[in-house]
Structures are given as C-alpha cells and as structure tokens.
C-alpha cells in the first residue's frame, strides 16, 4: 500500500466517517463478547469483512447492503490485538466510557436519563459489557434484513451475545431506522436534519481548521485542533490509525410533549401580545416557535438567512455567520443576530460559528462534530399531543477525533450556555440549549441554570423578548463510546493476512 503521511487513504477509513450514507434502511446491532459459547472474534470479523464499507467513492455501484463496525474500549481490551500496557495510551475519556462520572459532568444524564437506566433499564450490566456495535445499512428492508440475519447468525455461531437496547415491544428491542413523515431527511419533532456538517476535506498542508478530516481521523495531527489520539509508535496507536471515535447516543424524543409545548406556547397571552405585529395564525406561531428553538425552520432554512419564513431556496444553506455580518464592531457584534436566531437555539449552541467565545474556550473557535444519526420508532400521529406509548427518538452517531474536546465540550455547552460572555446570558443564571438541556434545576454540576429560553422579538432586553419556561423533551436511552477502526485494523481482527487496499487520498 502507498503511504501518504499527510492525509488518510479513503479505502482504509470506514465509510460512515467521511461520507453520509443515504440508504433509507439501517439497523444498529449491539453485542457483548462475553456470556456466549466458544467466543471466536476472528471468525466473526472475518464473516463481516466482505460487507465492511470503506469511504472510497463507490461510483455507480452503490452497495445494496453494507456495514460498519465500532468497538468500545472494553471490547478492544478483550480482542488481544493491543498489549495491555499500550491500551492505556487510548484517551482516558474513551477508556472510562460515557457512564463515567468524568463524562457525566458534561453529559448530565440524571433521573430517567441516568446511566443506571440506560438500555431499557439494564444499566451498568450493559454499560460494562457492551463491546461491539455493528451498523448495518440496506437500500430496501429486504437487503437490510438479509444482512442483519447474516450478522446475527455469525454472532451466535461465534459466541457473541446480542444486547437488546430497547423493550421487546419496540421492533423486537432493536434499533431500526424509521422514516419520519415519509421523508428520509426528517427526524422526530419534524425538523430536517443532516444539513450542516464539517467539510471533512483533507488537510495535507496542515492549516488550522476544526472541520477538516484530520480532526476526526486518527493519525494526522498536523494542523488538527482536536488532535485525535493516540498517535505514538505503540500497538494502540497503530491499531487506531485511520479510525475515528463515535459517541453513539440513543435519545428518546417525547413528540407529544413537544407538540403540546408548541400549542400551549402559541396560545400563551404574553406570546400572542408580543407577536401581534406579525399577524400569525396559531399554526404559524407554532412553526415560528419551533424554528426559534432550533435555529432552523422545519424545512431546514436557517433563521439567519430566512428570519421571517421558511424558504425553499435556503433549505440546505450552511453558509452564514452570527457576528461578522451585523455591521456592528466589537465584542457585541453578534448580539443583533439574536433577533433572528436566539442565543440558546440548538444549532447556535452546537455550532456558534463566529460568535465571540469566552476566554475559557481558548482561541481555536468552536469544535465541530460530524453527525450520521437517524430516527428510530414510528411517527406519532401528526400534531398529536398525547403520547401513544411508542419508543421513538434519535439514533445519534456523533463522530469526533477527541471525545472530550469535541463531543463532551459541545454537550457541556448545551447544558450550560456559559461559553460566550454575553450580557443576555445572566452568568448567575445561565440558560441551556432550547432543545437539549437537562432542565435539572437542582444540578450541582451545572450550578444555578435556568430552565427559561429567551427569544428576542423587538429588542434584546427581557421586556422586548418572549421568555418561555422549557420542559424536558428528551431522555437518554443509552450511550457508548466506540472506536470505528480502520479497514486494515478490522482485517487484522479478521485474521486476513494480506488485505488488498487501493489508494484514494483525502
């Protein structure tokens, strides 16, 4: 194989890392390596290897079905390809996993979301023995089912035991992708997802950027602000090279509570009064509020480009800023934009772009993550405000090269909007992300947070804004930190002696 020290070979990187798939069907299977008979990892990975998809361009030959593989630190430790002393070179955040208190200080999973309740109340029994996640994709449900059967048959034959993350009543307990509102781009709550993503361009010259692929793919530290690791000359670093971390997070979405919140807020006399000049119908007010919570209208149009109504022409737009276009100089140049997109709108917290950050955030600007998730669970009847008992939400696949510096950093921002010293954020009572905050007012981790969401309307003072009290719409169903190893590393696990790999750089 040719070696290019400055950029990854796409043939050696798992596909979901560098490209978003558009296969409409997928299933995400969880396995443990313990508890079965005659565990044979080599045979299992060797069975899966022919369907393992790289990031190389597939041209006109889009695979009907394919898969990608993630391993937790506990899983890797059992595979004996990395010496026990070298395993300690993996970042401690990955080693300890997301239920560790150090990670929980950012993720803030409490109550029904707490790690003891993850995976359909199996909690630590699964947190400690979840070893492998296989992401299976199909063009049709038949294609998918066929490959899922092959994977599970191989697992059983080779001593792996499947873990069911959901209750049996919900799709047999497995995480199957669902289609929301007949549109593969939609997620529950009705928003269009998968729009704003880091460029994932190669960075051969090593320019500093948070969105090039060397912030995600391990082994190319030059110019990377996230500095994925490990990158030594040890067995852990060699195994990890061309891999990427996946914060795999299953989030239940209470769609009925969300719909009810929009309806009640649209009928709130204070809201009606402050929006009277817009002459909106009740349904239009609900859409307006939904857009303010997210920072994008449900069709995808960003509020910064389409502040008054959704527009087809901006539905997939990514190119906008919060500060520099305001015409105002200085530290407050990003305040006027809050009249369009509120400071705590989800997309503004998850990527504040050019918004001025506090000193504690360093000088690299906001970290980026790549999102490859999809919804699970059937639609709730359009607009319903009472729950039907179906489990539904997001199969979150959040990719990064540095779990602490990218995924957990953004989560800590979402739970505690203190990252930008704005006067509108009363530092004594910081708000949370309008869609994602924990709303845990007694939190000792996020002291004195408020559960209100401020939407500036005619100005940025409280009197000129709508202030909504936010319920929690989300429950964490489980989280695992996985390494998505390179194709060559999986070949090694499969015992394939001389795997063929052509080169495609970048």
């Amino acid at each position: 194989m040719l070696l290019n020290p400055n950029q990854p070979n796409r043939n050696n990187v798992q596909g979901l890392i560098l490209r978003g798939y558009t296969h409409p069907c997928s299933c995400h299977l969880l396995f443990t390596f313990t508890g079965g008979n005659n565990f044979n990892s080599k045979a299992f990975f060797s069975d899966l290897y022919p369907k393992l998809q790289s990031a190389a361009d597939w041209g006109n030959n889009k695979p009907a079905s394919m898969l990608n593989i993630g391993l937790t630190y506990n899983g890797l430790s059992l595979l004996k390809v990395i010496s026990p002393s070298d395993l300690t070179y993996f970042p401690s955040t990955f080693q300890n996993g997301p239920s560790d208190p150090g990670s929980q200080d950012s993720l803030g999973d409490v109550g029904e979301s707490s790690p003891e309740k993850w995976w359909n109340n199996q909690g630590n029994a699964v947190n400690n023995k979840l070893h492998c996640v296989v992401h299976v994709y199909g063009m049709t449900s038949n294609d998918l089912d066929e490959l899922v059967s092959q994977v599970t048959a191989s697992a059983t034959k080779n001593g792996l035991v499947e873990i069911l993350p959901l209750a049996i009543k919900d799709n047999g307990g497995r995480l199957y992708q669902s289609i929301v509102q007949h549109d593969p781009a939609k997620i529950h709550f009705g928003y269009t997802d998968g729009i704003s993503e880091p460029s994932m361009n190669a960075n051969p010259s090593g320019n500093t950027s948070a969105e090039t692929n060397n912030n995600f793919v391990i082994g190319y530290p030059k110019g990377s602000t996230s500095d994925p690791g490990p990158t030594g000359v040890d067995t852990a670093s060699r195994f990890a090279k061309d891999g990427c971390y996946n914060a795999f997070r299953i989030i239940y979405q209470d769609v009925a509570a969300f719909n009810l919140f929009l309806k009640q807020s649209a009928n709130n006399p204070e809201v009606k009064k402050k929006l009277s000049h817009l002459n909106l119908t009740e349904a239009e007010t609900e859409e307006w509020l939904a857009a303010k919570l997210c920072g994008r209208w449900r069709n995808g149009s960003p509020l910064m480009l389409s502040p008054d109504k959704p527009e087809a022409s901006t539905a997939s737009a990514e190119d906008f800023m919060y500060g520099s276009s305001s015409g105002i100089a200085g530290a407050d140049d990003d305040v006027p934009s809050s009249l369009k997109c509120p400071f705590s709108a989800h997309t503004r917290v998850a990527n504040p772009r050019d918004q001025l950050l506090s000193g504690s955030e360093g000088t690299n600007g906001p970290p980026r993550i790549a999102r490859r998730g999809m919804p699970y669970g059937a639609d709730l009847k359009n607009g319903a405000t009472t729950d039907d008992g179906v489990d539904r939400g997001l199969i979150g696949i959040f990719l990064c090269g540095n779990l602490a510096g990218q995924f957990e950093k953004l989560y800590s921002w979402m739970n505690f909007n203190n990252f930008s010293g704005k006067k509108i954020f009363n530092p004594r009572k910081p708000p949370q992300d309008a869609l994602l905050g924990t709303r845990d007012l007694h939190s000792t981790i996020f002291p004195n947070i408020t559960n209100t969401f401020t939407i500036p309307v005619s100005g940025t003072s409280a009197a000129e804004s709508i202030v909504l009290t936010m319920p929690s719409f989300l429950t964490t169903r489980g989280t695992a930190y996985c390494l998505l190893p390179s194709i060559l590393s999986i070949a090694k696990l499969a015992g394939i002696k001389k795997p063929k790999l052509s080169s495609q750089w970048g």
């Binding site: 208190p101 602000t225 030594g232 602490a404 957990e408 530092p427 981790i445 996020f446 004195n448």
Partner: protein, 150 residues
C-alpha cells in the same frame, strides 16, 4: 459545583529533577497567572512539594519526595483539559515539567491525549463513581464567572 484536581507525582531524586521541582515552586504563580486569569474557570491553584520522609525521628531530611498540584475548577474536567492545552504557555509547561521529573516514567507530553491521560492518571480526586463527593467540601456552588458577576 467545581471539580477538584489533586495531582500527586512522585519525583526523581537526582539533583537536576530536585532543582526543577524547587524552581517550579518559585515560578508557579507567575507562570500560570495569565492563562488562568484568561480562562476564568479556576477557583485557585496551589503547588506544593512533599518533603522526603524522615528515617530518624526528629532529624530533618533533604530533598522532596513528590510534587502536589491542587486546584479546583468549574464544570467538567475532560473538555477543559483540552482548552488548557490549546492555550499553551504556563499551564501546559507546568504540567510538562512535572511529567519530566516523574519517578514513574511518563512519555514526553506532546499530544492532547498524553496530556489528558497523564493528568487523569495522577489525579487523587477523580469524580466519585457513585453518589456525591465524600472527600471534597465547597462553601458555595457558584462558578468563578458567577462570583465575579457579583
């Protein structure tokens, strides 16, 4: 609630290492001041040297056994270690200097992963696995920013 970080590192006994430790103590505040002021999330930071243990009661002993860095900072530790690394300068240098004189060999700290792993490996006060803190007291729940906001 802030997180305590208590880094305890046994140090080498040779003259150069002992000299580095003594010098670190003298220049600590000056070295980290600018970075910590800018970060605005650290409540305090103290560096101390632990004397070698006496072998004969009452007889003073020369040199230092270990270096102890005690600090208490806001919110989660994991992501903010990353930021301290990005800021460079005093804090990064202080940690690298401590690692360089560690009695237990530590690979030179050149990456974020090594920085994160070294600090976590010598932290005597990691967040408790279950329940709340049993060995940490804090008089107030406010962040540095909240206190400074009056």
């Amino acid at each position: 609630m802030a997180s305590p970080l208590t880094m305890y590192v046994q140090i080498k006994q040779d003259k150069v290492s002992q000299g580095i430790a003594a010098a670190a103590l003298q220049s600590f505040t000056q070295g980290v001041q600018a970075g910590l002021d800018k970060a605005g999330i650290v409540h305090y930071a103290t560096l101390a040297l632990i004397p070698n243990p006496s072998t004969v009661p009452g007889k003073p002993v020369k040199g230092y056994l270990a270096i102890l860095l005690m600090t208490d900072f806001d919110l989660a530790m994991n992501p903010y270690l990353d930021t301290f690394w990005d800021m460079g300068g005093g804090i990064k240098d202080a940690i690298a200097a401590i690692a360089s004189i560690s009695f237990n060999p530590v690979p030179p700290i050149k990456t974020k992963t090594q920085f994160e792993n070294f600090i976590n490996s010598v932290n005597l006060t990691p967040a408790p696995k279950t329940g709340g803190w049993k060995n940490f007291y804090q008089a107030y729940p406010l962040t540095v920013e909240q206190i400074n906001a009056g």
